[in-house]
Amino acid sequence: MNAPLTPRTATGAGVRADRVRVHFPTRAGTVKAVEDVSFDIHPGETFGLIGESGSGKTTLGRALAGLQPLTDGHLFYDGQAPSSLNRAQRRRQRRDHQIIFQDPHAALNPRMSIARSVMEPLDILGDGDRRQRRRVVDEALERVGLPAGIGRRYPHELSGGQKQRVNIARTLTLRPRFIVCDEVVAALDVSIRGAILNLFADLQDEFGITYAFITHDISVVSHVSDRVGVLYLGRLMEQGPAGTVCEQPLHPYTQALLSAEPLPLPSDQRDHRRRIRLQGEIPSPLNPPSGCPFRTRCPRAETRCAEQAPEWREVAPDHRVACHFAGPA
C-alpha cells in the first residue's frame, strides 16, 4: 500500500451530470427534487451549488456522492458511468468519491474515540495492517491541524470546528479525488469558518481534489468556487464562472438572491434602491408552477413564462441561463 497522504500528481476527478432527475414518490404525489439538471465539474476545481431550502441541492449532492439513485439521466466520473463498471471497479470508484456533511457532531459516533471514527473506513476497506492504518489516521489528523493525542478523545470533548476537522481527516484517509461538501461550514461560528475554508483550499492545492461545494451562503460560495450553479426548485437557473455569476448575474433569481444578502456595510454605503425584494416563498416541489418554476415570484414574469419552460441556453462561453428575459438587473 502506498503512503496514503503523499501529494498526488494525478488531478481530481472530472464529473459530468447529464439531464439528472431525482424524483421521490410520496402519498401526496411525486416530489421532483432534481429535475433535468446538467453541468460539468472540471478536474481539480471547486464547483459551487447554491440554493435555498427546497432547491434540491442536498439531493443533488447525495446523487453526486453516489448515495442517491437517479430517477433518470446520468452521472459520469472521468467520462465513465458507474453503471458501465464491474463490481470491483465500482468499489474503487466509490472510494474516490466522498461526502462531508453539515452537522459535524451528528457525523461522529459519540461512543467511538476520534481515532476509531477516523479509522473506520480503512477498517471496512481492509487497507494495510493495523499499524499502517493507525499511521494513516495520525497523519490525517495532523494534516487537518488537530493537536497530537486528540485521537484518544471523544466527540463531546471537541469544539464544532475541531469536529469538522475530524470529519475532513476521516475523508482524507481514503485519498478521495472528488468530495461533495454539503453546507460544511453552516453549523460553525463565523469566527472559525475561515480556517476551515482555508483548510479545504489547502487540501485541494496539495491533493488536487475536485469539490462540489453546496451551500445556501452566497458569500461562502462566491469566495471558494471557481464556477457556480444556481438551483431553484430542482432546476438550474444559471451557471457560470463564479466571478461572472456573482458580479454580473443574468437570471432574475440570481439577482434577487444576491441582493437579499445582508451586507455588513455602514448605512451610507448601502444602496437600498438596488435591492430586489422577492414576494412569497419557494413553492412546494409537489406542485411546481408550470413553465418556469421561478415565475410566481419573478419581477420579470410574463404570460410566456407560464406557458413555456425557458431553454437552458449558453449566453456567453461557459455562462448558461434558463430565462426568457435574462439580462442585467
Binding site: V190, I192, N198, V220, H223, P262, P266, D268, E281
Partner: protein
C-alpha cells in the same frame, strides 16, 4: 459629549441592565455563564447583540424576560425596565408585563407556537391575558395584527393551524404575537436564522418598519453582522459572558474598538478577495471553569500585551463607543470597510 449613547427621550433609557451575572447551580456548585453584562436600550432604539455561540447572548435575553429556570438559575445585578428592577418585581407583576411591555421572538417559530391551537386562538389568548377586550374585539385586533405583518387574507388565515403556514409566514405570526399588545421592547433571538435568505430579507424589512411605526425598541440577538447592519443603530459585542464593546453600528463597521469585534468582522468571507486566504479567530471560547483573570479574549487576541491580565472594565472611547480593552483607544483595528 461622548456618553450620550442612550440618546433621545428625557433621562432614563427604556432598559438598563447593570452588572448582570447569570450562573447555573448544580451539584458541584455554580457555573457562571455571564459576568458583568451591562448595557442600555433607549426608547425605540434597535440594538444588535452579536457573539459566538456560548457567549451568553440567549441566556441574557431569557433573563430579561424572567424565563430562566427558577430552580437552577442564579441571576444577580439589575434589570431596570422603565426605571423598575425586573429582578425584584413580584412574579405576578412580572407575568403581567411579560408579553405586554416586553415580548420575545424566538428562532424556531414551529416550536414556539402551539400546534394544537389555531393561530387566531393563540393571538387572542395573548391579547386577552393582558387587556380587557371582548372576544369579538380581540378577534378583530388579531386580524389587524396578521395584516400588519403582511399575511395575505388574514381573516381566513386566522383559523388555520401553525402547520398550515410556511416557515416565513410562521415567523410573521410569531412577530404578530409579539407585537399584538404593543410592547415597548421586543427581544428577537435569531429570528431569521432558520429562514432562507430571500425570506430573511422580507422579515428584516418587516421588523424595521414595525419598529419605526410603533416606536417599539428592539434587542436583536444574532450571529450575523450583516443582519445587524441592516436593522440596528447600535451594536453590543459579547464574548465569554461579557459585553466587550458597545458602539454605533456604523462606527464598529469602520473602526471597531475591541479586537474581538474586529476579528468577527474580518472573518466574513464576503470581505476577502475571491479565492484568497480567509482570516479567522484562532482557538475557542474558554470553558466557564477555565476563564482567565483579566481580559477573557487575551489567549486568542493578536494584540495581547502585558497589561491584559489586569481586569478589564468597559472603557469609554470617543464617539459614544465603549470597549472592554485597555488598548482600545491606541489600536487602529480593521473593520468591515476602510474608514
Amino acid at each position: 459629549m461622548a456618553h450620550e449613547q442612550q440618546e433621545s427621550t428625557a433621562g432614563q433609557p427604556l432598559l438598563a441592565v447593570n452588572n448582570l451575572k447569570i450562573a447555573f447551580a448544580h451539584d458541584a456548585g455554580e457555573t457562571a455563564i455571564t459576568r458583568d453584562v451591562s448595557f442600555t436600550v433607549g426608547h425605540g432604539e434597535r440594538v444588535g447583540v452579536v457573539g459566538e455561540s456560548g457567549c451568553g447572548k440567549t441566556v441574557t435575553g431569557l433573563a430579561l424576560l424572567g424565563l430562566l429556570p427558577e430552580r437552577t438559575a442564579r441571576v444577580r445585578g439589575e434589570i431596570l425596565f422603565q426605571g423598575r428592577d425586573l429582578l425584584k418585581m413580584p412574579a405576578r407583576e412580572l407575568r403581567r408585563r411579560r408579553g405586554r411591555d416586553i415580548s420575545m421572538i424566538f428562532q424556531e417559530p414551529m416550536s414556539a407556537l402551539d400546534p394544537v391551537f389555531t393561530v387566531g386562538e393563540q393571538l387572542i389568548e395573548t391579547l386577552r391575558a393582558h387587556e380587557r377586550v371582548s372576544r369579538k374585539e380581540a378577534r378583530e385586533r388579531a386580524i389587524t395584527a396578521l395584516e400588519d405583518v403582511g399575511i395575505p387574507s388574514p381573516r381566513q388565515r386566522l383559523d388555520d393551524y401553525p402547520y398550515q403556514f410556511s416557515g416565513g409566514m410562521r415567523q410573521r405570526v410569531m412577530i404578530a404575537m409579539a407585537l399584538i399588545c404593543r410592547p415597548r421592547l421586543v427581544i428577537a433571538d435569531e429570528p431569521t436564522t432558520a429562514l432562507d435568505v430571500t425570506v430573511q430579507a422580507q422579515i428584516i424589512d418587516l421588523l424595521r418598519e414595525l419598529s419605526d411605526t410603533t416606536g417599539t425598541a428592539l434587542l436583536f440577538i444574532t450571529h450575523d453582522l450583516g443582519v445587524v447592519a441592516e436593522t440596528c443603530s447600535r451594536l453590543l459585542t459579547m464574548y465569554a459572558g461579557e459585553v466587550v464593546e458597545s458602539a454605533p453600528v456604523d462606527s464598529v463597521l469602520r473602526r471597531p474598538g475591541h479586537p474581538y469585534s474586529s476579528g468577527l468582522l474580518r472573518s466574513l468571507p464576503g470581505l476577502s478577495e475571491r479565492g484568497g486566504r480567509l482570516p479567522s479567530i484562532p482557538g475557542r471560547v474558554p470553558a466557564p471553569a477555565e476563564m482567565p483573570s483579566g481580559c477573557r479574549f487575551q489567549a486568542r487576541c493578536p494584540h495581547a500585551a502585558d497589561g491584559c491580565e489586569q481586569s478589564q472594565p468597559l472603557r469609554e472611547l470617543d464617539g459614544g463607543r465603549l470597549a472592554r480593552c485597555w488598548r482600545g483607544a491606541e489600536l487602529t483595528l480593521p473593520g468591515a470597510v476602510t474608514p
